[in-house]
Amino acid sequence: MKKSKDDYLTIFFISIIGIYIFIALAFPMYAIFSKSVENKDGIFIGFENYQSYFSNPALVYSIYNSLFISIITMVITITLAFVFAYALTKSCMIGKSVFRSIAMIPILVPSLLSGISLIYLFGKQGIFRELMMGYEIYGPIGIIIAEVFYTFPHALLIIITALSIGDARLYEAAKVLRSKSIRTFFTVTLPSAKYGVISAAFVVFTLVITDFGIPKVIGGQFNVLAVDVYKQVIGQQNFEMGAVVSVVLIFPALLAFAVDRIVQRKQVAILTSRSVVHEPNKNKKFDLIMLMYCSIISVFILTIIGMCLYASLVTFWPYNLSLSLTNYQFDLMDGGGWDSYYNSIRMACYTAFFGTIVVFTGAYFVEKSRSIKTGRSILHLLSMMPMAIPGLVLGLAYIFFFNHPDNPLNFIYGTMAILVICTITHFYTVSHLTALTSLKQIDNEFEHVSSSLKQPFYKTFFRVTVPISLPAIFEIGIYFFVNAMTTVSAVVFLYSSKTNLASVAVLNMDDAGDIAPAAAMGMMIFYTNAAVRIIYVLVTKKILVRFQKWRTKTV
């Protein structure tokens, strides 16, 4: 078949986005693997680095430590999030939307902020230090509490989705058969949510094992893999060993990724077009218990954030408790000053803008272009890859790839551009999936009609697809923005003196012992993200009313 102008354009755009992902992901990953089998002078030495890694008991012990905290956190988070999600979807308690909003707070702050908060709550001068009963918050206890806080909303979102697709017809059947509610829970609710729970469990596991902010802040002498990467690279500038630990770190993350993909595929099959959404029935006792439970969790989340807010305003903890803004004088602290905050905002805006364009266009071609089947599936596969790569590893890989003197792209090293590219790549997959979901809802008839009217595809794209998908586009933009503000792991190796970031400043201020200013900078990130989210809600309400009117008419 002769290819049309449209086909060539499609090939052109698919190639551009494909090349982008190759440069931003595949080549750097190759660089990190090859670095791990080289010595300092760049000569191939096989697995010698790995041998010396596995013969160092302190480093190997980090693997056990990492697995230990990841598994414990996974169990706790999934249990807590499941009950919370259950309350939100299957009870008739009041204040559901409030609880939901509170539960999302941890997404708006850098992960390590919860660690800082715990120091103020349970540290040697903490408000509730007696509750520790002589145990140290510095170490596995602190890490696990902080990680639960950090991963809770991620698990919650997935489990809510899984629980809300439970088919009401099954519940009806169970009721008619006079099944006890506990039995219904185990035979209907749990099986339909099974895949969501497994998926959430692996997401939590990956988040914890690849997070280094929290163990860095509150881990004390308890070493984990992610911190080892950081120590090797930043502390000792031993890049080869950093590469080795990174490769070790990729394996559990890859495994989790693979399981998640398999499970996700099965999940989709449960929901058929004939499913009916299950509406919960009132049950006073049950609703009250759920209300109490959600309140306790919410109080926990608000305490963590509230403690940081308070600590950031206290002049000199714990000896001068008068309130002042001293800790917000970032220019006098280690870490980057107010410049780093403005840099973060710029970085987040660029990431949101360019990221949304790249991701949405990419998803459009994957979903809507009729020709070039292989190109589409390759592009989809490439778009799924970033999820399997921990941010820390991606950042390190960027050093190896972009700072190589022979790389023609060497000039972006140390600039804002590399931070933006790295952040877009790091958060590519989730955005890609959001875009795909939204595009799948648009009938392919639009493309068919426009093509039979001999209209080029980009006209349909701009006149139909983009306006219809505006909610998803905004969602992607906001996702990029919020994550660009909070991410530490992907950018900690890549910032330069001119492009210091707020999230990295939190880390560095804590490192230098300026904990209160670190809390203050973390709160600045929180205020910004919260404000952006609120503006987003207001704006989308207005815009959506205009652009999405047709949706409500049909209902």
Partner: protein, 339 residues
């Protein structure tokens, strides 16, 4: 179609504009306390407004490791304020552009490289000290320490913080001074006993004192300047000068070989040892490179200057690597299983 192409080209131009480099500026590597950086750059710019300073700051060990790692592809133009022992080590690696700044003869001979032209010039010195939180000490019923030896008293078990010498310059000057004060064997023996009392080793040299100031630990091995700053902020701390004597280290400057901005680097190297610069350092440091300039600094403990040991920098510089390796082998494994 045109619309798309325009959008793309705008985006590319935009990305490129993010990536442009600045001319007329210096990348300066340093380990000077962060709160002083803005002040230093501003004072320098009073005389040289056309040279922009881009600081890259981290703890001494980190900056040293970074410079060594970048040896073949240097990113820095000049070093302004990094431990003298690190600079001596790097001089041996041939990493500096030898240049005797104007007025070098006015510096105390200890504060300049003996070679002609000189590879490095010292600007000031920082001195070890112990920050002790009086409130927390009273709470635990501890007696105040007055010597290094006191820090090994069993009652302090788990109540002392000190910097990791691998990353912190202060940590390294502590370790190298103990090896000089107590002798090689006596020094390691002292550290073995001290290790039993250590609650944690920090990455930065100022953190133990800041933690002592905040009551997270009662005793923090740190340096006098940091203690004075925290005391000025109202922290209930005493700055103890151990009776055996205290280690100290100079901060020094050097131009990196291969800098693409040698002229500006020389201008900065010249300015950094002028009297004006020395007075600027003196606001925080009690000892500066030019004799006769220094005035007493507020909150500094009395007798500190007399307690400074006769530091053998040559010993510290040449043995830096082996001392650090030995230290790491002995103490860096606190995270290992207790089996």
């Amino acid at each position: 179609m045109n619309k798309i192409l325009t959008t793309i080209s705008v985006a590319v131009v935009f990305l490129l504009s993010l990536a442009n480099a600045n001319a007329g500026s210096l990348t300066v590597y340093t380990a000077i306390e962060a709160e002083d950086l803005k002040r230093y750059a501003a004072t320098f710019n009073e005389d040289h407004p056309d040279i922009e300073i881009n600081w890259v700051r981290d703890s001494t060990g980190i900056v040293t490791a970074k410079l060594l790692a970048e040896k073949n592809n240097p990113q820095a133009d000049i070093i302004w304020g990094l431990a003298g022992t690190s600079l001596m080590l790097m001089k041996g690696e041939g990493m500096f552009e030898p240049y005797s700044p104007k007025g070098i003869e006015k510096l105390d001979p200890k504060f300049r490289d003996g070679d002609e032209p000189a590879s490095w010039t010292g600007i000031d010195a920082w001195v070890a000290a112990v920050c002790v939180n009086t409130v927390e000490m009273a709470k635990h019923g501890f007696s105040m320490p007055s010597s290094w030896e006191d820090l090994t008293k069993p009652e302090y078990e788990g109540h002392v913080a000190m910097p990791n010498p691998n990353s912190s310059g202060t940590g390294f000057l502590d370790v190298s001074s103990w090896l000089q004060i107590f002798g090689e064997d006596g020094g390691w023996d002292f550290m073995d006993r001290l290790h039993k009392n250590i609650s944690h080793y920090t990455h930065s040299g100022s953190k133990p004192c800041k933690q002592a100031a905040a009551g997270e630990v009662p005793i923090g091995v740190s340096f006098a300047f940091r203690g004075a700053r925290s005391k000025a902020k109202g922290a209930p701390i005493e700055i103890i000068v151990p009776s055996e004597g205290v280690g100290w280290e100079m901060e020094a400057n050097a131009i990196i070989k291969g800098t693409d901005n040698l002229e500006d680097a020389k201008t900065l190297a010249d300015w950094a040892i002028t009297q004006k610069a020395m007075e600027m350092y003196n606001e925080a440091y009690a000892v500066v490179g030019m004799p006769g300039v220094a005035k007493p600094v507020e909150h500094f403990p009395p007798g500190l200057l007399d307690a400074m040991i006769k530091n053998d920098f040559e010993f510290a510089a040449t043995n830096r690597k082996s001392i650090l390796a030995e230290w790491q082998k002995r103490y860096d494994s606190k995270s290992e299983p207790k089996s």
